[in-house]
């Protein structure tokens, strides 16, 4: 059984982030992979899962989420190799520090060597990133500027929008994918969803066509023009 776990949707679920869990689950099931989607509420303990999903959130909820995760088994599970897709606030939380409510620095989980400071202005709009020759398309809405340290690789290079710093977007470690493309990024980018699903299940996936293919084509056309 492949368990996909949405982490604190009450806190980290402001921008349609539920779409990511839905997309992975459906793309697994349609290929006959035995998968389930669970979510962790504020009072629950973090369950064992093959993939954890962290979404976007406002300042207060983001602080509470990181405080709850700090005292949970989440950090050790990720260090032991559990896979994570982290989006927006989720991306910031996994790093060393981030900023909330103005310029107050807040301690992250320290799982990845990245630091997020307050950007000069909010980054709001379409985001397109080139990842290994393919486009990742979506929408961003955040006030952070993220710097990668200690040889952490970016997820991709920005084609449109700002991402981390107008040049790079997100980061990629052995078991973590992070991007500023919020909300339903896995729903909109079927190839990206499948790449993560393949890594999580450790198997090669059958091709799968779905409504998302047409949407992805359309967004690529719009965003790269």
């Amino acid at each position: 059984m492949t368990t996909i776990c949405t982490v604190y949707p009450e806190l980290l679920g402001t921008y349609g982030d539920g779409g990511n869990g839905l997309a992975v689950l459906e793309r697994a099931r349609r290929r006959g992979i035995d998968a389930e989607l669970v979510s962790v509420g504020l009072r629950d303990v973090i369950p064992d899962a093959s993939l954890y999903l962290l979404g976007g959130g406002e300042d207060g909820p983001q602080r509470l989420a990181v405080d709850l995760l700090r005292t949970s088994s989440f950090g050790s599970r990720v260090r032991d190799g559990a896979n994570v897709l982290a989006v927006c606030a989720g991306l910031q939380i996994l790093g060393l520090t981030f900023c909330v409510e103005g310029n107050d620095e807040y301690e992250g989980l320290g799982l990845v060597d990245v630091v997020t400071s307050r950007g000069e202005r909010r980054s709001v709009g379409e985001l397109a990133t080139r990842v290994d020759g393919r486009l990742l398309v979506g929408f961003e809405n955040h006030g952070g500027r993220t710097t990668l340290h200690g040889g952490v690789d970016a997820l991709g290079t920005v084609v449109k929008g700002r991402g981390n710093d107008a040049k790079l977007d997100g980061y990629r470690t052995k078991n973590i994918w992070a991007t500023y493309a919020h909300g339903p990024v896995l729903a909109m980018n079927p190839w990206f969803c499948d790449e993560i699903l393949a890594a999580v299940t450790g198997s090669e996936l059958e091709p799968l066509s779905s409504a998302a293919d047409l949407l992805y084509e359309e967004r690529c056309r719009v965003l790269s023009s």
Binding site: E10, L11, G13, T14, Y15, G16, D17, G18, G19, L22, A23, E26, G41, L42, R43, E58, G60, P61, R63, L64, V124, G125, E126, F139, N141, H182, G183, P184, A187, M188, S210, A211, A212, L214, L215, E218
Partner: protein, 405 residues
């Protein structure tokens, strides 16, 4: 007020009327916002000057502003000045206040403009409906908005102001709890996804039955008004609420509207009869014709609005049409489609219209809902009976324009 100020405001008022008339005559617009903008340029205090001496009721919140304002207008009876085109920022307020001189005024107010509009219009009553996620790419995050409402109400100096507020929305309660003169209303509020974490301490709020509380002590206040089915009780008076418009949310809107009127001394027995008789509001819920189809037009702009509207659809498996755009007035980011419980449409076939029909189709596909992407209107097969058409803001106006009564 000095003589030159008065003169300036009179000149500004004439300018508003003239510009709006020209705008209407030249077909450039309905002529509400443009004139208002010109007027405010000439006399920045124009809203204050025009509202002075009139009885003003303001309505704000994420969903239901236009409908609730219409209910107040109808319930009040007689002539009421209002911004019924939904132009709900200062320029729209100026246009409405210039166009008709009634002493009674009902205005809907954009959530972000509440503070400003309180100061300029000095209302007798302000109605606070609900706060939920809406157009995150151009509006403020919803908790931030609640914080701004709270500051605005806390610092507002007129102690006589009556606040009529939804006691089942923790964000609204957070905004209004510092006012002594608040009439809390116990109204159906199904969307709680934006108030699962406490606005005061960020811990989890417990929602139990019809009540809610947080471990920090923040909890649902004592209400003066309640509605259960068709029975509406305001301040001990029982009324029969039999709305012609569908939906639990309209019962909430009507309850808040009637509580506001009651607080202003209006006979609610008469008012409720007039509110019950409303069939549609600026095209919302209206039945229209298009290419041989009969359509009921339903406006839904955000997840809570959609959730509320989906709950009103009959479970008869009939086809449903949904139209989604992502233009400026809609917000450019359709990510919110994943916050809408479209799974409720399983068992129906959904026709996807609008600029962002592929985003919608993808959402429905992942949600296990049968869908058809309509790239060409000519290919829509004939339908039996009345089709429910749900559309977000600009898509709704497109359909209102292309269909006939």
């Amino acid at each position: 007020m000095g003589k030159s100020t008065m003169l300036r405001e009179r000149v500004a008022s004439v300018a508003v009327r003239t510009v709006n008339r020209v705008s209407r005559l030249t077909g450039r617009g309905s002529g509400t916002v443009i004139g208002g903008r010109v007027g405010i340029k000439i006399a920045p205090d124009l809203v204050s000057a025009l509202a002075r001496g009139r009885t003003v009721i303001l309505v704000s919140g994420t969903n239901g502003k236009t409908t609730t304002t219409s209910m107040i207008v109808a319930g009040w009876g007689g002539d009421v000045t209002t911004n019924e085109t939904g132009a709900n920022m200062p320029a729209g307020h100026v246009a409405a206040l210039v166009e008709s001189q009634n002493t009674r005024v009902a205005l809907e107010v954009d959530e972000a403009w509440l503070s400003d509009t309180l100061r300029t219009t000095r209302p007798h009553v302000v109605v606070l409906l609900n706060l939920s996620r809406d157009q995150l790419d151009r509006a403020n995050e919803v908790r931030h908005l609640a914080e701004r409402w709270r500051t605005a109400l806390e610092t507002y100096d007129d102690a006589a102001l009556i606040v009529v507020a939804n006691a089942n929305d923790p964000l609204v309660v957070y905004a209004a709890e510092t006012r002594a003169n608040t009439l809390w209303c116990d109204v159906p509020t199904t969307w709680i996804a934006d108030a699962l974490s406490c606005p005061k301490c960020t811990l989890a709020i417990s929602h139990v039955g019809n009540s809610w509380h947080c471990s920090c002590g923040f909890a649902k206040p004592v209400t003066v008004t309640s509605v259960l089915g068709d029975e509406l009780v305001i301040d001990g008076v029982t009324l029969n609420l039999e709305l012609s418009m569908p939906g639990e949310f309209n019962r909430s809107n009507a309850t808040l509207a009637l509580t506001a009127l009651h607080s202003d001394g209006v006979d609610v027995e008469d008012a409720v009869r007039r509110v019950n008789a409303i069939h549609s509001v600026v095209g919302r819920f209206s039945v229209r014709r298009w290419n041989g189809h009969v359509l009921r037009l339903l406006l839904a702009k955000n997840p809570s609005g959609f959730a509320a509207m989906l709950a009103t659809l009959p479970e008869d498996g009939a086809d449903v049409w949904v139209a989604i755009n992502a233009r400026v007035a809609d917000g450019h980011d359709p990510s919110w489609l994943y916050d809408v419980p479209f799974e409720l449409l399983r068992g129906h076939r959904v026709y996807c219209f609008g600029d962002r029909r592929l985003d919608l189709a993808t959402r429905l596909d992942y949600g296990g809902v049968d869908y058809v992407v309509v790239d060409d209107d000519a290919t829509v097969p004939p339908s039996k009976g009345t089709i429910s058409l749900l559309a977000n803001y600009t898509a709704f106006h497109d359909w209102l324009a292309r269909s006939q009564p």
